[in-house]
């Protein structure tokens, strides 16, 4: 077998390898640990690109860990949807990592930075593996790894708020994982399989025997993944955790971690459950209404916040609602829009948290009302923030419009124009809380009141790249959309 055949496993293995190598390297000579992790992340990203090319050329790819075929061994699968998720996860985390290099020295004590790299690599490895795995139990293990690593990058700041927030997150996540394990057990009881494809084949027959168990399992999955990805009303842990964490962690958590679980739910709903089960009970209907409530309440809560990062965190709850709206509408175009929003929001929200990070790094200001006049002191940062806000509102030329376009089109196609109104109302609310920040930042009379440190290039460049990426996702979206549409059409 050629090396390229092992890419699915190698991506994860390489990241884990870097995770375990970093602490000793950091102790030995701190200079090497950052390039090492950057190199591993870039290599993983490169492999993901090659994998995507391979998948689009020759169709889905299956990889058996250790050569053991299912049902005994763990199977990894790369199909267009998973490779898309993989690309987003690895690309965005590489980008955030470059930003983190400078930001961390400011937010963390110097001796934990090596450990931060470790946690970061483990987090990315587990997320990549969640996107790849084709096995329910393996998914459970990876979810736990992901949660614990995520708690790690919050609590590493070691102040009171972070510890409290990460503890809250840990408890609620554990509840979610518990629900998930229970659901998996029920499916295993009914069919005897854990592999996605085998389950899919066996569930139709098992459904007639154990309908209640399977419904319960589906409901448990909604709760489990809803908790992990902060679907309203299971979002209570998110604002504290995302707002108190160091800025690169906030970017990771809001940008990627919550979406990975949304994608996992997509995969389970459309690759594990046969169509007739989804049609038999209004599972997607439940998700739809929760998502719509999340879209509205996330925006409303965000309006009430006085702290910039808190506002961004609440806005994430609204935005994750958009992703679930796609799933809830259960319609090809809407799902495409929801999945596209995974990428758009990952880039946008990560960039917004980065600009918040730059603001905190250079001025120490966190309160929204103190930001008046900051546009003159930090023009590039606030321009990036403006581009990000435009995407959140869904102005033309940004990625936010494209995902809203598809979601709205899907809602119309499904004959539910009400949800188009939900999307529009939430866009308006987003405008109402993002716009005043920008206006007061740029148009404020008089000088900015706080002392401003210069912005390091290592922070400025990722911001510029992010702003460009937001615009590119808004203008050159066609190839990704076409790929997603095909992937979704083949799943439905």
């Amino acid at each position: 077998m050629a090396l390229s055949d092992h890419f699915p496993a190698l991506i994860v293995a390489l990241l884990l390898f870097s995770a375990f190598l970093t602490p000793p390297v950091y102790r030995w000579t701190p200079r090497f640990s950052a390039p090492l992790t950057t190199f591993c992340l870039s290599a993983a990203f490169l492999m993901a690109i090659l994998l995507t090319a391979e998948v689009s050329r020759s169709g889905p790819l299956l990889y058996h860990m250790g050569g053991w075929p299912p049902p005994y061994g763990i199977e990894l699968k790369v199909d267009p949807l998973r490779s898309y998720a993989l690309l987003v996860i690895l690309g965005v985390s590489l980008w955030i990592f470059v930003y983190a290099l400078k930001d961390l020295s400011h937010e963390l004590r110097i001796y934990v930075i090596g450990w931060y790299y470790t946690l970061f690599a483990i987090l990315v490895a587990s997320m990549a593996a969640i996107a790849l795995t084709n096995d329910l139990f393996n998914l459970f293990v990876l979810m736990e790894i992901c949660t614990i690593a995520a708690c790690g990058i919050i609590s590493i700041k070691e102040d009171r708020e972070c510890l409290e927030a990460s503890f809250k997150y840990l408890i609620l996540s554990a509840m979610g994982t518990g629900c998930y394990l229970l659901g998996v057990a029920m499916l295993y009881m009914a069919t005897g399989y854990l592999n996605f494809d085998l389950l899919n084949g066996a569930l139709t027959e098992a459904f007639s025997l154990y309908p209640r168990n399977i419904f319960t399992a589906a409901a448990l999955f909604i709760v489990a993944f809803g908790t992990k990805s902060a679907l309203f009303p299971l979002h209570v842990w998110l604002p504290d955790a995302h707002a108190s964490a160091p800025s690169p962690s906030s970017a990771m958590l809001s940008g990627l971690v919550i979406k990975v679980f949304a994608i996992a739910l997509f995969l389970i709903f459309y690759q594990v459950f046969p169509r007739e089960i989804l049609n038999a009970v209004p599972l997607t209907e439940i998700v739809l209404w929760l998502a719509a409530a999340g879209v509205m309440f996330g925006s409303i809560y965000a309006m009430l916040q006085a702290d910039l990062k808190m506002m961004l965190a609440y806005s994430s709850i609204g935005q994750i609602g958009f992703i679930f709206l796609g799933l809830g509408l259960d319609q090809e175009l809407a799902i495409t829009g929801g999945l596209y929003h995974v990428m758009v929001h990952a880039i946008t929200k990560a960039m917004l948290f980065m600009s918040a990070g730059v603001i905190i790094y250079t001025t120490g200001v966190r309160k929204i009302k103190d930001l008046a006049g900051i546009g003159r002191a930090l023009p590039i940062t606030m321009l990036a923030f403006t581009v990000g806000s435009a995407s959140m509102i869904g102005l033309p030329g940004t990625g936010g419009l494209i995902s809203k376009w598809y979601l709205a089109l899907g809602a119309l196609e499904a004959g539910r124009p009400l949800f188009v109104l939900v999307i529009l109302a939430s866009s308006l609310l987003n405008a109402v809380y993002y716009m005043p920040i920008i206006i007061s930042a740029f148009m404020h009379q008089g000088e900015f009141e706080y002392k401003v440190r210069p912005v390091p290039n290592m922070m400025k460049i990722p911001l510029i790249i992010g702003a460009l990426a937001v615009i590119i996702t808004g203008l050159l979206s066609r190839p990704v959309i076409v790929m997603l549409q095909e992937a979704v059409a083949s799943m439905l």
Partner: protein, 504 residues
Amino acid sequence: MDSARVMFLLMFIVFFPILMAPVIFYACRYSVRIRDSLAVVTSGITFLATLTLYPAVSGGEVYHYSLFEVLPNLAISMRIDILSFCLASLASLVWFLCAIYSVDYMAKEHACSRYYTVFIFTLGSCLGIFFAGDLFTLFVFFELMSLIAYLLVVHEETEEAMKAGYKYLVMTIIGGLALFFGIIIVFELGGTVSLAAGHIIGESSVLALLAFICFLIGFGMKAGMFPLHVWLPDAHPVAPSPASALLSGIMLKTGAYGLMRVIFHVFSPELIKGAGWDLILGILAVITIMLGSAVALTQEDIKRRLAYSSISQLGYVLLGLSILNSNAITGATFHIFSHAFMKSVLFLAAGSIIWKTGRRKIADLKGIGRQMPVTLGCFSLAAIAMIGIPPLNGFLSKWTLALGALDAGMPIYVLVLLISSLLNALYYLPIIIPGFFEAPPGEEQEEDDHHHEIKFDIQEATPKMLIPVIILALCTVFFGLTPNNIAYALSQLTSAFLLGGGTL
């Protein structure tokens, strides 16, 4: 003209100003004069380039180009036909004159580099609206222009301006979302949003009506249609005068232009009439006309009065669109020309007066004609044209609109036009008559002297401010003397072109 050249010209006209905007921003680091002349030259070149397109469209040809696809079946595309040409040439002319006017006017203001950058950028995006080949591109440029124009509205950064600007911004976002909804529905029903497709929606349905209402909200908001006009009287007067002239003279028209495209390309006149939707537009237009004129009467501030007058004048255009016959469309298109000339003269002349004397209240403008006879003369000319007195262009558009109303058997609309003209007279004449015939506030005692001589103490604004006003004022005369003028001929062509389903 061969199509490659038209394509190049279209791209050039839209993107040259947009690309020049950052150049102008950086030019101010070296010299203020370079910056100012760059702004004038850019708008001048754009105007000339637009004029060269005339042979391409005069025969009713349509050129359509897709640049690239943003989404499947959704391309960024450019298009030119006679209607686009009319509005683009008008817009770039007024922009050019306002740029010349700005040079001296803005010399007193702060943050000029921002002003000129935004000024030129909005020119590009405004022309982008007129040359958009599909609703999506139109939407992109429409939002771009509206959002960037926010910086023109709040330019003075006073508390009043910020408040008006915020109102403007929220209304713009609401309008944008309504447009987005409308475009989505069109795409859902017709599978395309290209203006080249002809009548995309062929039959009336609930969704189609929803789309029509959404377009009415989105474009009507921009055009200051009742009840979505609330932002306009706040936003237009607080901007610097050349920007007010553009906001009222040109940018309002993008809303009317959008509605024209929606009526003729997305739906069809037969569908609109058949489903009775023209009545919605007609009623709203009548209310807009009456309300705008009536409220204008009560305004004390000259620029606010002009802003309310804009609302009522755009009502004429909407009225023409609701009548939907040959004369009415000619009248509506011609009124776009007329109003652009008249309102820019009024705003620029008012701007000169404010610039020179600092007086904004109408009560303070007594005797201003003795100090600035040419400026007030031009103002009077435009105001009389507004009222609709014969040899001026306002008369010609009202005449044509009235003919259209009679053709459609709606004499009530003629009555509306007449009442509104009367109201126009009531709120414009009290500016002009005291301006010329009463003594300035400080010199009242001398009036009692029977042997008094009227003293002219001429202090006109600078030539750079005077010349654009004079040119525009001459336009109101020139395009009104006879119906054999280029603007009227273009309006007739447009009307024939649109009603003929895209051919002459």
